[in-house]
Subunit: 401 residues, 2 copies
Amino acid sequence: MRPLKKLISLDEAFKILGENTSVINQLEEITLFKLANRVAAEDVLADKNVPPFRRAAMDGYAVIASSTFGASDRKPIYLTCIEKVHAGEIPTKTIKRNECIEIATGAMCPDSADAVVPVEFTNKVDSKIEILKGFTPGDNISPEGVDIRKGETVIRKGDVFTPARIGVLAALNKTSAKVFRRPKVAIIPTGREIAPLGTELNEGQVYDINSYTLRTLIAQNGAIPILFDIVPDEFAALENAILQALSTDLIVIVGGSSVGERDINIDVLSKHGTILFHGIQVKPGKPTLCGKIKDKLIINLPGYPTSCLTNAYLLLLPFIKKMASLPRERQKTVNAKLSRKFVGQLGRHQILTVTVKNGIATPAFKESGAITSIAWADGYIIIPYNVDLIEKGEEIEVFLF
Amino acid sequence: MRPLKKLISLDEAFKILGENTSVINQLEEITLFKLANRVAAEDVLADKNVPPFRRAAMDGYAVIASSTFGASDRKPIYLTCIEKVHAGEIPTKTIKRNECIEIATGAMCPDSADAVVPVEFTNKVDSKIEILKGFTPGDNISPEGVDIRKGETVIRKGDVFTPARIGVLAALNKTSAKVFRRPKVAIIPTGREIAPLGTELNEGQVYDINSYTLRTLIAQNGAIPILFDIVPDEFAALENAILQALSTDLIVIVGGSSVGERDINIDVLSKHGTILFHGIQVKPGKPTLCGKIKDKLIINLPGYPTSCLTNAYLLLLPFIKKMASLPRERQKTVNAKLSRKFVGQLGRHQILTVTVKNGIATPAFKESGAITSIAWADGYIIIPYNVDLIEKGEEIEVFLF
């Protein structure tokens, strides 16, 4: 066994990971239906005006505004309606003073009109339209190009496609967009104690949890997980899997990062590449190992399910998002009061899962091998490496899952 | 034209929508790979203990704890190592006092041991293992079932599947789970002024934006959008589309909710069902119409793209989530100071899209027809119906998209 000696700080780990993460800049073209949450790989320019014509912004009557000046409830003005224009129709007549054209929201406004009187301010009185309020030129008319002007940049490289941004492409009759391809992340589970689902356990074995938790987390965060078969703790088998995984963008090895004699991950990394760090001042997750083979980053997470998943949230996600050009959103947090005293561990950041109810954070952590430590938690707190203890009732920030 | 007369309050609209929304309770069985964000339709009980055996929680040496009592840096105790157990292997020997077994994290602990001394507190000295600290019974050993105890409820009906909860199923060798099926939401775009993408615009037409924005929003929120072709404003065509859409769970008609003469949606709803409300004290979105045919809720959103999408965020999403049994999460918000004075509209809640930069909220709203009003915004603010104006510099809550 080779005990870990010098642990690096969490900040140092973030720095090293950041420096060794490459942003993916290959493009792919995607139809609007699959564009949600993808990242624009180029600016999109408008090749037309939207709307392409001047239109009514309200249901009502198109008028020459000056025909309505001075109109009020007490002193209405009466106009003659000479035409009706529904949305999708073209006005054919020219309005003169004291005339109007009935018009629907979104319909093309006659050139001769410079305002629309909303229907709420009108009455039909015999054959006339009664106008109850004065309007000024431009009122309730949307000019051509008010939404999008031809030549304008409507989507910028790096924009994440939201429903509205997809709507902007639709407005311009664009049926696809160029986006960055998503990073492929290899997941290589290791260890003879891990059994694939659907098989019988041998004595001393447990089922493979991490492939499923990591796969889900990676897919939820803009990347494509590539699952490898479970690799026994043998040099050649691991070497083979890693070399195969070099065709992906990021390699996550699970298990075997610890100091057991069979933990041959370090040996494989050292043979083919370099070790960037081994051991972080964080609990759980201390034995996390990181290396690089041919510009490909390799993160080796501990195999214990809670260690594995909390470290994936903490150390893996931000860099997967960086590779995918996704914004690093600040995680959702709530403030809560601690249900009991928490003892810190000087020298290591402690990550503790908690449930939050009525503003009280209660520990949900069982042990780093227990997947239920996370599954039944609402989030986690971090007790910094330099904090001795946090008293019951103290307020603390909870990072929500 | 039939002007809207009595508008209902936003709260009343929420109440009516809530009362008329049915939660979907049909089940479907889904494999782990597709389970993320789905909602458990039944409790899941553990049919085994996890871990299924007592295991070492650290790399180190399994011992009888009392053999280590009194050990310290200055006064180490020396034990004889009689075996090595890697993870996945079975211990074969029985430890006696002053003996130990080298053991890896996750490996089965010999019955004869009651503690594990972590490798950090040991040295190999000649043929002996030097122990530098005393440990008590139970230290660094995970008992059988510490994570999950057989018979225990591990997933509760209504739980949303997170990475960790999917991991819990994997831990139990479960390859699928029963979840509520997702609501199917019909989107029926209407209006002769709307042209499908990929066609040439006739004069007076604009491209179909709302089908794309709504489809994305609905799919992002746990439901299955079912897109209908654009329906012209004709009674028979709309009636036909609506009757066909009754096979879905919720019908969203887009456009034609206003008061133009061709707005025949009310007539179709009245013929086959009932009107629940028409007109809400909200801007944009006033003409939103809601009805019911045979227990099927029908929401008619205004056709102007920003009105349509903001009302979908406000009025549609919470009820789609309710149908899907998804928790109604509080929307992400930030506080920001207003960049300028905003004038309210007494009697109507005003929804205004804004960009937020360095804590300053600047209006992004152009007009309710402009999709860029949302696409270029970070979120929206709501100026309540009873607020006259909000001064420049005042702090306000921004609901983020």
